[in-house]
Symmetry: C2
Amino acid sequence: MGSGDSPIRSPQDKEVPMSSKIHGLNIIPLRKIPDERGTIMHMLRADAPHFDKFGEVYFATAYPGVIKAWHLHTKQAQNYCCIQGMIKLVCYDDRADSPTKGVLQEIVMGDLNYVLVQIPPLLINGWKCIGTQTALLANCADMPHDPTEMKRIDPFDPAIPYDWALKHG
Amino acid sequence: MGSGDSPIRSPQDKEVPMSSKIHGLNIIPLRKIPDERGTIMHMLRADAPHFDKFGEVYFATAYPGVIKAWHLHTKQAQNYCCIQGMIKLVCYDDRADSPTKGVLQEIVMGDLNYVLVQIPPLLINGWKCIGTQTALLANCADMPHDPTEMKRIDPFDPAIPYDWALKHG
């Protein structure tokens, strides 16, 4: 891609999953390759070991402070990458048969932490645009959007033990 | 996706290829769905009639005035979508067996013209960031990046009858 991409390094270098608190949730560090013209930013290759299948790629923006939550997909897996600005992604494991049932995980991602997050079906998730800039999230989902397989839960539903409010400290 | 997306409309509504001056070059208008939280921006679905196969999705930015050209892929087809800012994409048909050999086409795309452009292999192409904002280009290519199938040609090579300079008028 970019001429700054050394041919000695494989594009997959360092792009291996990190450990996560929640079973089946993958966090993969991604490379950005900047030069004086601009930047190349990796997301997902069909030959990556963590690639499953392609369904749809689309983008979502959110203005600072906006919460887009909660989402629960019954079939679709998400591949999220915040390519501009910063978001706080929150995942809550309410899966009856999960070894990490009840665990909640926050992932602060975007310009300052450029990662791919793979969210399996049935994991409750949502995100909030943090900081001062509009956030731009790319999703490369494993099946095309189908409103019948998606459930929306109110972001302030008390059944989910999470408070979206800014925590000063 | 966005709650502003009426369930009566199919996500593919109006997302059908437009005519193009160059044989095999497809331009598909895309939908943006804005609301008070942000925007959903379509790009490519596996069930779209114009989808072929998935190889890699990555992003490229360019600062205002920067030219990224010329690129010639011998095997890979590109799916380009400018999701922020504006670019001028230029395609030059130098394919010996093409019915439109010798034709050059400029496509001004981005915030003000949100489209998907499908560039078949062997079509010479390049782009320039126009306007005042950094441009952000998404590419959903049909095979993973392989430097051996890509040829770079100097953006000012006289063999290609195109002048990248700003044309006042």
